[in-house]
Amino acid sequence: MIEVSHLSKYFGENNAVDDISFTVGKGEVLGFLGPNAAGKSTTMRMITGFLPPTSGTAIIGGSDIIGESLAARKKIGYLPENAPAYPDMTVIGFLGFIAGMRGLSGDSKRRRVEEILERCFLTEVRFQTINTLSKGFNQRVCFAQSILHDPEYLIMDEPTDGLDPNQKYEIRAMIREMARHKTIILSTHILEEVEEVCTRVIIIAKGRIVADDTPEGLMARSALHGTICFTIKKGDGKDIVQNMNDFPGIEKSEIVNESETEMTLRFFPKETSAPPADLILQHLLEKGFSVETFFMEKGRLDEVFRMVTIPDSIEREE
């Protein structure tokens, strides 16, 4: 378990992290979201013991990162932002060095390095120096470094940054697989990643936690959550929108999209838990429209993200 309590960091007058507290347990994958300079990296640097906090502390599996720093750091695997690694070392040399510093030696060290090389798909570049590697390989080398000692707690600052879609897929699959018996904190800019791998999301803005929820819970905050969209063959659609406004169970409706041949309508139900999708469908068919597709919106993270990080953004647009 990672317990973060009242963590704050000042850089001079600038309050980068302001009294952040949360707890993450085994099996959880916590996603850290937030605009640039929100304090994500600073928070992670404090949890891993790189930056001393101005106040507060983090307790990693019972060891205080300030009081028992070495014991706490032993349990953590850390992938820093931009995946730093010694540029003049070979991949195998670098991983061997980290393994040595993690207390492995001799045969067990060699075996572990081999295992990790294979697992992170690095076997083909093992004898190359790190400065000759592409961004994707570089990222994977640093990722390999963080899981080398099979840590209970994994902290990753933008683990899929700079990877192509296939590599992202691989890394995410590895994270999901490891999640079962580890506690993972990762930061990201990519919202789809949150939906895909995280079991919980914390959104930080200006150094404070502004949301702490499951991805589903966050999406439910979206204004579009629970709305139903129908794409129909073009007819006199505007007419429907007007007629439907007093349809039972519908709050309001609007035209989202209109083209030469078809149009998309969105209905906002009064009760998002029981949207009358079937009734609307029936109604449209009875009126003689041909329905191409229809779906229920789960909500959009990007919208919620903007809503909680810039609180007046929604009103400003309207």
Partner: protein, 248 residues
């Protein structure tokens, strides 16, 4: 304690190998040897003096080190900051002391290797005459110790910045002060107004008298203490600077 040696040795090995993995090592060694030869033979007239000792060789070391050792020291921490690996190494389960010491010893050892490669000078004087080998060994030891003191300054200034050039210049200036502190033009500035004891304290900081006595073949405990405490103090300051680091 076992962990301490293992971790320090681990850092040391990596750093030391890094020197020879990049051109830095070869450039440094070649320039160092060339300068040593040039100063000894062309400026100090080694042959013309007609003495089978290495005084003319060692007397230039403080000046050669002044520019070359900061060049070795400047990358120690500035490079870690620039590449971001400092974040990696300081979150490993090893203490700051182990990292500082490992890095320092690796660089010192490297300078030691360069120093050992001047062995043809020793062979030359042995061939030419009958030098006092005890004094030669002693002078080498003093030179190595002094290089360590220069290096500790470089290590400290390197921790202050991610810019290697800034680190280099700062370290040259501090080392220059340490070399010149006992030099009359510097003490004259002070002696006009400062009390005598302050002038003595400042001139006591100078590398020169301590190196000079070791170079003569006398290992005095006071000189030893002086160099060791300079190294200790600078590395301690190095640790404090890193501890108070603001951002990566």
């Amino acid at each position: 304690m076992k962990d301490f040696f293992r971790n320090t040795a681990g850092i040391l090995r990596r750093e030391f190998a890094d020197y020879f993995g990049s051109p830095v090592a070869y450039v440094f060694i070649v320039i160092f040897l060339l300068l040593c030869g040039f100063f000894t033979f062309s400026l100090s007239h080694f042959y013309e003096i007609g003495q089978a000792d290495l005084r003319t060789f060692f007397e230039w070391h403080p000046w050669i080190f002044l520019f070359l050792v900061p060049a070795v020291g400047m990358r120690l921490w500035a490079e870690e900051r620039r590449t971001g690996t400092i974040e990696l190494i300081l979150t490993l389960p090893i203490t700051l002391t182990e990292v500082i010491l490992g890095k320092f010893l690796a660089a010192w050892l490297f300078i030691g290797v360069a120093l050992l490669l001047t062995f043809p000078m020793v062979l030359t004087v042995i061939y030419l005459g009958d030098p006092d080998l005890g004094a030669v060994v002693c002078a080498y030891f003093g030179s190595f110790l002094m290089a360590g003191a220069y290096l500790s300054v470089g290590s400290m200034t390197s921790a202050m910045t991610r810019n290697q050039v800034v680190s280099f210049i700062l370290s040259v200036v501090i080392c220059l002060f340490l070399v010149l502190a006992g030099w009359p033009p510097v003490t004259d500035i002070l002696s006009g107004w400062a009390p005598v004891w302050l002038v003595d304290v400042v001139s006591g900081f100078s590398f020169m008298p301590h190196f000079a006595s070791i170079q003569r073949g006398v290992i005095d405990l006071r000189d030893l203490c002086y160099f060791v405490s300079v190294i200790f103090f600078m590395l301690f300051a190095n640790g404090v600077i890193l501890q108070n680091r603001r951002a990566a």
